[in-house]
Subunit: 488 residues, 2 copies
């Protein structure tokens, strides 16, 4: 291609010489000639380089105008639907019942598994409990962590709001992952080989432990000079609650610490939380809910063209809210927690928006979860002799189950959509890697964005549809269908 | 700004040294630490450069999805409105009357002013006509050129279609400009100083002409060796009709010529004409006309929010059709004419899409017209002692009048909107230059795109509204208003 271009350029420059001589002869004429032989700029034969700076501006402006028109159209069609009242009860509990916040019960129940785990670890460290018994008890506690929200949310006395139930389930998932990390790290500390190579085994007998403890006595003193906490001094209430509140899922005995709290930084993040939360809620009321209502009928009738139009229509606000939510969680909230707790590691995400494939996206988008899976599931499995692909599959499986849990429990229905959607990531990762190698990083990146933009609203529509069918029956769909056909 | 950043980077690298030492101490611990002090990527303090490759892809994908949704929504709302039947009569004459093409009368009438001008020039060259008389007669012919379409289009017997009338008026404008160039260049050739410096005077007495003619006798022979045509050998029917058909408005005695016709190039351009014409017409039927109908009521009621929404809604198809039309005219059509006629100068446009201000846009967008104004109006005026700004003002004035003529005559109503819109360019050129110097080339380029996108649909809506009011009275608006309020 470039060789052809060069040959073309050469031949056109030879042609230009002839033309210039002719032009000089013509210029001597009295008719003031203005023409000279030249190709059009957009012709293939044109030797001039084609700059596209202006076209980037053009695309940006088109996008801004489309956005402005959508905002105007939405306001004209639906009017202003944002209402600031009732947000607290929407987030914290059941709507319609002021000053009744069932989330608080869940928060109170949280201390039970935490304290139980700490007590077990203390017993283990002093050798008063057998490792095998402890494993069983730890598992029981973890089951309790994941079962508590299921029980409490389904109690008829506590009417949970949908959003507050999702937040509660998410919070319990986080606590569950943190406890696994806490238990595993403490077990590494008890290991005689100091846990550098976990290939042998993860749990030790009390006898081994005592021997290991004696061996490390000298080491511990040396380390204390550097001000580092050593096992079992870390088994304190204070240390455990610091870890629970810290913006990480991976337990360590000595987290990197900052020396001071940057007040303007903290203030900026707090302001972001206040403003972005409002924005997300306003967009949901104003944009998502009307579009979801409109998507119900075409989706239930599998009217493909209309359903596709509604899907793309829903994908835009859904995508914006996802982006805002991601920033809110991974930048604003986690940085606030880190700043207040002097937690120095603020790498909660990498530049996933430039990812050349889906696999890099999952590695860069949610670093706390990615690190947890790597440290506490993938590496131990590979060390235990699993193949890499089997380990990756199990990581996706656990991740899918956790996502499904966070949605199915609050909605009060067991549907496999989110689980299946998440398990789709395994082939999607393959597909986007294949696209990257065949068509370049841009194609891989574009495929990643496309999956993110279109996959999520499809799931949202599916859950909404099933939720309405489950809780209100097909009568409502019929009713809405009637409303819609007269409105359109 | 960059100094602050550098200082930040330095301090953070010093901090990193301390952190690395601490990290090494922590790494010696048995808890396999994974955290290290780091800022979030989106924090101001972050030293990592922020790449945005992915965000460009993201914006492009959003644009493509919005476009896809608009297409789907349009099809779902209006159904398929494109009909291939009747295009010939739509373009060439009145709808509803097959095989009646009034444009053909206008084409036939065209020969009259052309032949008259050639005859006058021949009389002038042989000195059988006084220059002052010729000037009067030339002016009369030019008035005839611009008056002919007005008379013919308003004849009740010839019912012109709107599009065919616009094309006819545009064609007559082009012929008028070409004739002015033809007359002026021939007068330069008659000038004794061979027209290199037109500062003295443009027209010569027959006596001067004969003297000048004798003096140039030897020159002409010398030039004929180079194969160049000299005055008055150019005053032939063949030469005049070549100029009329050639893709330029500026007459020359010896146009640059190509040696052969590139058949694949010609075929490609012809295919473009066929396909793009179909596309433009389909988009007009499917997209512009429904949106225009919907804009009528809000615009006549000056319902500002709804009118703005309709304006932005209309701006998108209008802009796309304008871009397609520009490509069709300046690349496909003019290149076909140039290829067939061996006309070598194909620079019909420059890269106006990168223009950093509006002034550059007008210089790059329509080169044939730009060159004509520069050669036949601006330079002669400046040579005659006008100030540059006054000459520019007159250029805009004449250009505005010609645009207004092309629209007002076919619509059969005299409204100043296009004229005023075009005259707005004078302040807009100032504004975008000011934006460029204050905020950089990107701001100037963005302002240019914004004016192009929003100015045109405003004019289209205004003309449509006035046309409906003029021809069908406010009853129709009332009727449409009633229809719309029940439809919405």
């Amino acid at each position: 291609m470039s060789a052809i271009r060069r040959r073309r350029t050469q031949s056109s420059s030879r042609a230009e010489e002839i033309v210039t001589a002719e032009l000089r002869a013509r210029r001597a004429q009295p008719d003031r000639p203005v023409h000279r032989a030249a190709d059009s700029l957009l012709s293939w034969a044109s030797a001039a380089p084609l700059h596209t700076r202006g076209l980037v501006n053009w695309a940006g402006l088109l996008l801004a105008l489309s956005g402005a028109r959508l905002v105007l159209e939405n306001l004209l069609t639906y009017g202003l639907r944002v209402s600031a009242a009732g947000w607290a009860s929407f987030l914290l509990g059941a709507a319609g019942q002021p000053h009744h916040y069932p989330v608080l019960y869940l928060l109170a129940a949280l201390h039970l598994p935490l304290l139980a785990t700490l007590h077990l670890e203390r017993l283990l460290s002093s050798g008063r409990l057998a490792a095998s018994t402890a494993t069983g008890l730890h598992c029981a506690i973890l089951v309790l962590v994941f079962a508590l929200p299921v029980v409490l949310i389904n109690l008829p006395a506590l009417k949970f709001g949908l959003v507050s139930a999702v937040l509660a389930c998410g919070g319990y998932c986080v606590i569950g992952l943190k406890l696994v990390s806490y238990i595993q790290v403490n077990s590494w500390c008890r290991s005689p080989r100091a846990g550098r190579l976990p290939r042998e085994k993860s749990y030790v007998t009390p006898a081994e432990l005592r021997r290991g403890g004696e061996a490390r006595e000298g080491e511990a003193e040396a380390r204390e000079e550097g001000g580092l906490v050593t096992y079992p001094d870390n088994l304190s209430l204070c240390d455990l609650y610091y870890f629970v509140l810290a913006p990480t899922l991976c337990y360590e005995l000595n987290f990197p610490r900052t020396t001071r709290i940057r007040k303007t930084f903290l203030l900026r993040r707090l302001l972001e939380v206040v403003l972005l939360t409002q924005l997300v809620l306003a967009l949901t009321q104003q944009w998502i809910i009307p579009d979801l209502l409109n998507s119900l009928v075409p989706f239930s009738r599998t009217d493909l063209p209309v359903a596709t139009e509604r899907l793309i229509r829903l994908s835009l606000p859904n995508h914006i809210i996802w982006l805002l939510g991601g920033y809110l969680l991974f930048h604003s909230c986690l940085n606030i927690s880190g700043e207040v707790l002097h937690f120095a590691d603020r790498q909660f995400y990498r530049d996933w928006w430039n990812s050349p494939n889906f696999s890099r996206f999952w590695q860069d988008w949610n670093l706390p979860v990615h690190r947890w899976f790597l440290r506490h599931l993938y590496k131990p499995l590979v060390a235990a002799g699993w193949s890499r692909s089997a380990a990756v599959f199990l990581v996706f499986l656990v991740s899918s189950l956790l996502h499904e849990y966070t949605v199915s429990v609050p909605l009060g229905m067991l549907k496999p959509w989110l689980f299946l959607g998440f398990m789709c990531n395994a082939p999607l990762v393959q597909l986007s890697s294949w696209l990257e190698t065949r068509l370049g990083a841009r194609a891989g990146n574009l495929s990643m964005w496309l999956f993110l933009m279109m996959g999520q609203p499809l799931l949202v529509m599916t859950y909404y549809h099933d939720y309405v069918v489950e809780h209100h029956g097909p009568t409502l769909i019929h009713h809405y269908g009637h409303l819609n056909s007269t409105q359109l």
